[in-house]
Assembly symmetry: C2
Homo-oligomer: 64 residues x 2
Amino acid sequence: MKNRLRVLRAEKEITQAQLADETGVSRQTINAIEKGKFDPSLPLAFKIARLFNMSIEEIFEDED
Amino acid sequence: MKNRLRVLRAEKEITQAQLADETGVSRQTINAIEKGKFDPSLPLAFKIARLFNMSIEEIFEDED
DNA sequence: ACTATTTGTAAATAAAACTTGACATACTTA
DNA sequence: TAAGTATGTCAAGTTTTATTTACAAATAGT
């Protein structure tokens, strides 16, 4: 599962810690997701998408 | 997290077991998701969405 | 009524998300 | 040079929750 989180965050000019704060998870969780270490839960994916005013598919890409 | 799985499946006229089969999970998992007992993993959500030619947001609705 | 098929659910397991804490690196800037 | 901020990572632990197995209930068909 790839994602465009890194660039989106850069565009918005917010830090991992801020994103973590706004989504209610730890900074390391955001980092891990960005680095593709694991996928967010569906609810968290929704929260992130909402924060960027985007659809989940616009942010996350299933590689299959 | 609500979802329209039940009706979509009805429209497609497939059984829980068939949907389970095509998404690679157990029949009970599909049932549980339909009944809202828990949310699918993000990869599974993608698989389901792809199967119905829909976006995740068109199938699942985050209630917050 | 009987059988087959579909659905519901409890209980247990497996898996994975997420946390905490710590430390290291890089970049800035004062 | 020192201090502050942002990111990377890792180990280890917790805890949530997705998923399975097994069994019960319901529904449909003959």
